[in-house]
């Protein structure tokens, strides 16, 4: 007796990797230490690179191997290393608590992720490279990253949220445009490097002005 509509082995593996990326995003929501958050981002980037490599192997798209290696070097090694260096200068350890408690944040993120899941599912996008579920999951990653950016009140979490949002976007691009020219993908990755520089400057200036990484004090423009 077999179950109803089990996906093929390749689809199952790809979906599972996509779900792991989403779970890591949820873990970022509850990580209390800044370093832990950066580490989670590095792991998430690693998993996204693995997904690229799996697609390359399973669907025979050799240029995705290059993308996997480049994105691993950029997002799992260089970017986390840069953020950790900035953190060492700032000498802050603990991210302030979010607006909500962790359990409520997770429940809220589940609702948001569900919204992402089902809206994308109704769009009826199909790709011949990855199953459509991976697209829905990638969309959920983007939305949960937004929740992370909105709910956390420290610059580092917001920056990490932004970078992991980029992870979600690159997963979307793997699904809908796996054959995208490599030069475009690499251009996106260097875009990310620019974002890291900008966030680095933001973190330094913010830390220099308020002596903390929290954004709670930023109320001067409030009416």
């Amino acid at each position: 007796m077999t179950g109803t509509g089990a996906p093929t082995l390749f689809d199952g593996v790809a979906n599972t990797i996509a779900v792991v990326v989403l779970l890591l995003e949820f873990l970022m929501l509850r990580a209390a230490m800044l370093r832990a958050q950066v580490r989670l981002y590095a792991i998430q980037s690693l998993v996204v690179s693995v997904l690229a490599a799996v697609v390359a192997a399973g669907r025979d798209v050799p240029e995705l191997y290059v993308l996997a290696v480049v994105s691993f070097l950029m997002k799992a090694v260089i970017v986390p290393w840069l953020i950790l260096r900035l953190l060492r200068d700032a000498s802050a350890e603990i991210a302030g608590s979010g607006v909500l408690s962790v359990a409520s944040e997770v429940l809220l993120a589940i609702v948001v992720a569900a919204f992402g899941f089902f809206t994308v599912n109704t769009l009826d996008i199909h790709s011949d490279v990855l199953p459509a579920t991976a697209l829905s999951v990638a969309f959920a990653v983007v939305l949960v990253a937004f929740v992370l950016i909105i709910m956390r009140r420290d610059v580092v979490s917001q920056a990490v949220g932004f970078f992991s949002l980029e992870n979600g976007v690159s997963m979307v691009s793997l699904v809908v445009a796996a054959g995208m020219p490599l030069i475009l993908e690499v251009a996106f990755l260097f875009d990310l490097l620019v974002a890291v520089v900008v966030f680095g400057v933001l973190m330094r200036v913010h830390h220099g002005r308020t002596r903390s990484l929290s954004t709670i004090e930023l109320t001067r423009l409030r009416g």
Partner: protein, 321 residues
Amino acid sequence: MTTLELTPPVIQATQVLTIAVGAPLITGVIARVEAMLQGRHGPRVLQPYSDLAKLFRKESLAPRGTGPFFLAAPFVAMACYLTVPLLIPVLTSYALPLGFMGDILGGGFVLALASFVVAVAAAETGDSYAQLGSSRAKTFGAITEPVVLLVVFTVAIVTATDLPYVLGATVRSSPDQIVRPAHLLASAALFMVILFETGRIPIETHTGTTELGMIEEARPFEHSGPYFAVLKWGSMAKQLILFTLLLNVFVAPWGMAATRDVGGVLLAVVLLLAKSCVLGGVIAVIDDSFAKLRLFKITEFVAAAFLLAILAIFTLYLGGG
């Protein structure tokens, strides 16, 4: 040459006996592994049997003002725990006659009845710690219940039934069924529920003596002698039942008897205990590598399990689970 065949009722009785007799062994193995990981020598693996034998020989006292329910509760709970092995695949991969008496949900209800009876008995004593334990067990039990339900729903969507035998057969049928995200997520969620239900780290310390952090462990405080022994034995049996459910239905439904001959069934007994020892080893490692959560952080643990279970449902609905 003919092989000796067992009749289904005998196999069914063997399932119950395996759980009842094997449960203290698994507890002993976990305690031993835990001790070894902490650099201690630890008690003998068979120590829980001696503990139970000792308790059965002791006199029993009941607090003043408790009624017959207090004394009946351990036996009702034990009866519940020994009913569940009739429903789930313990030794055989094919369904035994009474296997269709109840589905996963039915087994869950029977376990819940046992936990309810113990909680009521604890509440009857008037002892503050026992009452605290039973009230906490019920509070957190209420928030883990949705996780269990979602896991059952996942099983129901995957197999179109909620019989544990069918899910086991589905998992065995092909590797496609194992790597599907819904299956992995539901198994992980169930594992977290089992950590909660068996009172392991990160929910509570299993062997500790700090009453304020206790949940499950605090409930039999007022029972003594044979009654306490039956309660302890019951919680060991519950642990092995949950392990069996996870192993033989979700994670590793291999190595069960497919026929009725004696050799196969005996081999299945040995393999089940071996698999449970491995799972117990994993749980002992978790026990030693994490700290106990503060009481109000338990909701976060349950929220994580809930997340896993609900993602399983989502991916299934999207057609990719």
